[in-house]
Symmetry: C2
């Protein structure tokens, strides 16, 4: 099996990604919700009809697309109309199947409507640019983590081809989802994430330490969105695995 | 005195910026040095003669310039040829004098030649895009912190105008630098930064915890570059203060 698909490697990769996600949410949480940046024409931009944040996100993705970001199997754009890379393509055999699975629209919705609402305290502080730049960083980190489910699914499939092939042919979503769920691992993950959020959110030598972000909030984000969305990607991937 | 210039506010702003800098360096340190991304045409890009990282940095700054990033008194671009903002300018009276002081060229040099060399272990891991994206984040955070020296200098000037005006007229750089140096505060800052680097760089519940970045390295970066560069900006600002 290829290195990228060994479960132990995937797991340590996912654990390292937790830092990136937690750091990015702590960074975003220092600013207010600034809902205006998510509203269509909330901040008017000439010849542009979507939100301020989408303008910056699309611009960033255009730039990153030029240098080949979205040819990597673990990167998925949020916006469309991206230019072709002008770097010569890497000769690289993907460790997973190429699919069109991309649930970023769903991630974007819960990010704006749920995550921002619980991590930010104030309503508006005028820090629109900083908020949007941090949004992009956080969205990219969360999207990468969730779509990593493709690697998890491929790895599990290869370890148990007969079992999975049967369920896939039967389109048995319930059993597939059961096979992707490990309550013990999930519980451990949630505890670890909460502990990390406490550790990274503290001001180490402050007299009256106030956490920069409530650690239960990070745990909830994982419990309600990141874990189930990852499993959704795993399921979608498996359902296409035999095509 | 305006809120932005009250020393206590400046100080807590600088303390918060430490997290951003440390997070960004920890993030960058997960990848190899990847020197190729800093070399001119190290990764050939059509019709572009500088490095891969500079290409991404310039593209990012062009985008951010459009939405007014560089009209803020604490933001300074690394690259030139940036477009004019197409958002209407904010009506906002700057709390500090407008100057052309920008030492980002110097920051860039020590970032590539010194900081990357001490925070990254491996030589090349092929993660060019991720490395450059994290470079941009780290460079912006470090630049912001160092140019915040303008706020520090303005605040100190306003609190002691007679004293500073005399030294400025005399162009007495030595005495000015002495007046900007507080050994006790610097010592405390270095200790705090090292403690933060230890706290944020740890894997909280790992059995054999390996720090993601050596905390002494972060302390050294502050001691050798960030503190002296900030004071350099303070001095440059004061020397222009009476113009």
């Amino acid at each position: 099996m290829r290195d990228e698909l060994i479960l132990e490697n995937i797991r340590s990769n996912l654990i390292r990604q937790e830092e990136t996600i937690i750091f990015s949410l702590i960074e975003r949480a220092q600013f207010a919700k600034n809902s205006k940046i998510y509203e269509k024409r909330g901040i008017p931009i000439k010849d542009y009809d979507d939100s301020f944040m989408m303008f910056l996100l699309n611009g960033t993705e255009k730039l990153h697309s030029l240098v080949r970001r979205y040819t990597a199997p673990d990167e998925h754009p949020f916006t469309s109309g991206l230019p072709e890379p002008f770097l010569t393509p890497m000769i690289y055999e993907w460790p997973i199947r190429k699919t069109n699975i991309n649930i970023n629209d769903k991630i974007m919705k819960i990010y704006i409507n749920e995550i921002i609402q619980v991590i930010c305290e104030k309503e508006d502080d005028g820090n629109y640019g900083s908020s949007a730049v941090n949004d992009i960083y956080a969205l990219q980190a969360i999207s990468k983590r969730i779509h990593y489910g493709k690697f998890v699914a491929e790895s599990k499939f290869l370890l148990n081809q007969e079992f999975y092939s049967k369920l896939i042919k039967e389109k048995n979503k319930e059993e597939l989802m059961n096979s992707l769920t490990d309550v013990t691992v999930e519980k451990k993950l949630l505890e670890r994430v909460q502990l990390k959020a406490e550790t990274y959110g503290q001001e180490p030598n402050a007299k009256n330490p106030v956490l920069k972000i409530k650690s239960e909030v990070i745990k909830e984000i994982y419990m309600k969105y990141i874990i189930p969305f990852t499993k959704e990607v795993e399921l979608l991937y498996l359902l296409e695995r035999l095509n």
